[in-house]
């Protein structure tokens, strides 16, 4: 149920993000979702793509430092308290959220969030036990 996410180091300079997108476009890799964590000086780009191995190779060849991280995608009921319920069940399991961001599409009327947990396996077990929906690659890369 875990998904491979690509993380890239990026300097805060004009044109640097587009260089990543261009390299993937030239290799005909579609970006399913992207999140950017930025500070004054640098940023970290997090990407989810279907062919993550090929995308990693393409980006490394283009000179980027690329790390692969395992993340979890879960659907969140589109109502007040939807996210609070999810967070409550991972907290109870003693799992920490390192970062999270939203997907750009919805799944059956529910929002999809991407979580980076310090213990992904434990989080998945806790979420599924609580009846939350965890999405695998097949559901994301339609």
């Amino acid at each position: 149920m875990k998904i491979q996410q690509l993380s890239l180091f990026l300097e805060n300079r004009p044109g640097h993000l587009s260089a990543i997108c261009r390299a993937l476009a030239d290799a005909k890799v579609n970006i399913v979702t992207l999140s950017l964590a930025d500070t004054q000086q640098f940023g970290i780009v997090r990407l989810i793509v279907q062919e993550w191995e090929r995308a990693r190779d393409v980006l490394q060849q283009a000179g980027f430092v690329v790390h692969v991280r395992e993340v979890v995608a879960a659907t969140v009921p589109d109502r007040p308290g939807g996210l609070a319920d999810i967070l409550a069940c991972v907290e109870k399991a003693g799992v920490n959220v390192e970062y999270m961001y939203a997907f750009t599409f919805q799944c059956d009327g529910k929002a999809v969030l991407v979580f980076r947990f310090d213990d992904a396996d434990k989080a998945i077990v806790a979420l599924q036990a609580a009846g939350q929906q965890v999405l695998g690659g097949s559901a994301l890369f339609r």
Binding site: S7, F9, L10, E11, H16, A37, T39, Q41, F42, I44, R46, Q60, G63, F64, V65, H67, R69, E98, Y99, R116
Partner: protein
């Protein structure tokens, strides 16, 4: 060109060409004095600038009766070569000169240096002695990444490596992909390059999935730029090699003025051809063995372009205590600083090598760095740009900020100045195929 036919034993501890490395000191000093007297007389007769300076001081060549009398002679400096460009310091007619080399000349005119056939033989012999000291043997496959051409590094090292019986690959600098292919496919055992270029090769090899530990590499002969002991340890960890320091400068002969033996305790200076002194850079006073100061070199056998008391701008000290290898020639303390490179930041003296040492003390940081100096509101600012590598990248902001803090803390501990640390993308700092450019000083422009 001298050849060494008798020497074909890989186990022989001493190469025959290395014999002068082991001369008893009194004999060495006698040889040095004789050669100094010949060199001074020759320069006086043939080089007008030297003659004028001697006359102005009221000194004549016969006054050189002991080695200590060298202090009577005037210093020469780099600008002497520029001001007499191109051939003004030559002591041989062009008919006797068989080779010219020139520096790249980053500021103004380049400097030109000349060699007679005998000078080339001497150069070859000191390179043989350098490589022999570093542990290179007949049968080694040597990849020479120093630039061939006007730069002295490539051709100088080449001739000596061939003469000692190594198999030389004259690949020159650049074309990193081909360098790595050759290193792997040809079973290269010895690499000669600048230390920063070797690090670049290490990076590239890793990206191509080539494990340097699995190659046959065993020795690296690194020079042409100052590097630190920390850098040596790092390089020796990245590949299974002994990283040996070779020292030289074109004005004196090129590479081969000094080279480390396998004890790695500072380069042995080939004193029978290059007479070393350490001086106080401010007063010009000669300092005793063991004292730190500016290295001054006098060529003792150069015909085409004798250099007398040439101020190298390199900071070092002479180590006269016996070396475990048995060589009697003195050692230089590893040269990590050039007086030209000293930065004065808010009144504090800082050498780039201190920054390098600080960076290397932080886990996972490769010494690809550049120091950028600016002036903001009349205050010097120093920014150290460090490349993010696969080893130190984290996809969490807090970890990268912690890395910046660790680097800044290490720099502050070693230099007492606070530097801004900027993480930059890999391979964005300019790589040297010759000498690394470590400092960008933008203060003069503002």
């Amino acid at each position: 060109m001298p050849t060494f036919e008798f020497w074909n034993d890989a186990d022989s501890p001493v190469h025959p060409a290395s014999a002068p490395d082991y001369l008893p000191r009194p004999q060495l000093r006698e040889l040095q004095l004789h050669r100094l007297q010949v060199t001074v007389a020759r320069a006086y007769e043939r080089v007008p600038l030297f003659q004028q300076r001697l006359i102005a001081r009221g000194v004549r060549p016969p006054q050189i009766r002991t080695l200590e009398d060298i202090a009577l002679l005037p210093f020469s400096v780099k600008s002497d070569l520029r001001e007499t460009y191109p051939f003004g310091l030559f002591a041989s007619p062009m008919s006797d000169i068989v080779r010219l080399h020139a520096s790249s000349g980053t500021t103004g005119k380049p400097i030109v240096v000349a060699y007679t056939a005998h000078d080339l033989d001497v150069w070859t012999s000191v390179i043989v002695r350098s490589l022999a000291a570093a542990g290179v043997r007949r049968g080694d496959i040597l990849q020479n990444c120093y630039g061939y051409g006007l730069f002295t590094g490539g051709l100088g090292l080449h001739a000596g490596a061939e003469a000692m019986g190594a198999t030389v690959i004259p690949i020159s600098g650049g074309n990193t992909d081909r360098q790595i292919m050759v290193m792997k496919d040809f079973g290269v055992t010895v690499v000669c390059s600048t230390p920063s270029y070797f690090l670049h090769l290490v990076d590239e090899a890793r990206q191509q999935g080539v494990d340097l530990h699995a190659l046959k590499l065993r020795i690296g002969v690194f020079g042409a730029e100052p590097w630190t002991e920390g850098m040596r340890q790092r390089i020796q960890g990245l590949a299974d090699i002994r990283a040996q320091d070779i020292y030289g400068l074109s004005e004196i002969i090129g590479p081969g003025v000094a080279c480390e033996c396998q004890c790695q305790s500072g380069p042995h200076i080939f004193e029978d051809h290059f007479y070393p002194e350490i001086i106080d850079p401010d007063t010009g006073q000669v300092l005793p063995d063991g004292a730190t100061g500016e290295l001054v070199l006098t060529t003792l056998s150069k015909e085409a372009m004798p250099m007398i008391r040439y101020r190298t701008r390199d900071i070092s000290r002479l180590v006269a205590t016996p070396c475990a290898c048995g060589r009697t020639i003195r050692r230089l303390e590893r040269i990590t600083a050039r007086s030209d490179d000293m930065l004065i930041i808010r009144g504090v003296n800082v050498y780039p090598s201190q920054i390098e040492t600080a960076l290397l003390s932080v886990e996972g940081v490769l010494p690809h760095y550049q120091i950028v100096l600016t002036r903001e509101a009349d205050l010097d600012q120093i920014e150290v740009q460090v490349e993010v590598t696969s080893a130190n990248f984290s996809d969490e902001v807090k970890s990268l900020e912690a890395l910046q803090k660790r680097i800044a803390g290490a720099i502050e501990r070693i230099t007492n100045i606070h530097a801004r640390v900027r993480l930059v993308e890999p391979n964005t700092l300019k790589r040297s195929e010759g000498k690394a450019k470590r400092i960008v000083d933008q203060r003069k422009m503002g």
